[in-house]
Symmetry: C2
Subunit: 167 residues, 2 copies
DNA sequence: CTTGGAATGTCAACAAGGCTGACTTAAACT
DNA sequence: AGTTTAAGTCAGCCTTGTTGACATTCCAAG
């Protein structure tokens, strides 16, 4: 099992414990880079990574309900409510009572919220664009394939749901 | 700039803002999966993700100094010291005074520490192994290439330094 | 019409794990 | 001898996650 060999004796180098360990380290270091630029921007403001995540997914799925956002982010409503409330107070997010079901709140970005979201995402995308360009299209395809395989099934559903109705 | 076209007019689909946005979402959801299994194990014990990270890198680089570990993890010594102290008290980590420079402390896993590290890493690797197998070797190579391109230069150095003297 | 359940919001308390700043100790360097 | 460096410690703060309890509002089924 820790040999990385099939019954046929064919060596699957990329499945050795050592390779997997290096993959985990790459994931760790890369995620740090992934979040570094938005984090730096948010440092000055009184916001954090949690605010960025909420902004991102409200931008992606405008009009989403609080419950839906909860499932996407995987946090408790109390935790989300804290960041959401400050952003509503600060005029970045608008919460509209649902028309069909008035219990639900639908979330939208205001112009100010859109501006901040754009700023954060631009910073993040700049790094990703450079990484994608360095690695090339085939590598990017593989990157996406492995990431998707690594998700929990629940999260994979969310991921695909978000992609519907876009490109 | 948000068109994803070169000066030659060649469309680089994988560099559109929309593709990059989806990549960011994939990264977010995948990282959740990446940490989910060890987190579940640590839930029962009185440890967290920070302990896992320390265990992992002490395992990877036995005899590392505190300062070195600090740089790898990218946290303050106070933050690291908190998790390190509990694990030393609990007999998972051993701190030996340096022979050449007695100011330094060199960190090693005890047998108990190695056992826990193994347990956590096995859980994490099981998911990665499945993801790697699903995606295939070429995808894995691309995955690694993009992750590496995404790191901060400082972290990329650390990453390579760790790989030296291994496979 | 009433009642049960669902969606949301809120309050309080707590924990993990980051951070800063100040300070000590011991060892090493110059 | 004086300065710098590695490590550890204490105190306090912030963000962001957690539970649990409870209020409100509304839909829908009986």
């Amino acid at each position: 099992m820790s040999e990385g060999r099939t019954a046929q004796g064919e060596t699957l180098l990329y499945l050795t414990d050592e390779q997997l360990r290096q993959g985990a380290e790459a994931m760790f270091f890369a995620y740090r880079g992934f979040t570094a630029d938005p984090d730096r921007i948010l440092d000055g403001l009184c916001y954090g990574r949690a605010h960025h995540r909420a902004l991102h997914f409200i931008h992606t799925a405008p009009g989403t309900t609080v419950n839906n956002l909860l499932n996407i982010l995987g946090v408790t409503k109390q935790s989300l409510n804290r960041v959401l409330r400050t952003m509503i107070e600060d005029g970045l997010v608008e919460s509209r009572v649902g028309r069909v079901d008035k219990r639900e709140r639908h979330l939208y970005l205001t112009d100010a919220g859109d501006t901040l979201e754009r700023q954060l995402s631009d910073a993040q995308r700049m790094r990703m664009r450079a990484a994608y360009r360095d690695a090339g299209p085939e590598a990017v395809a593989g990157f996406r394939r492995v990431l998707e395989a690594m998700m929990d099934p629940e999260m994979r559903k969310q991921y695909h749901r978000l992609r519907e109705g876009r490109g």
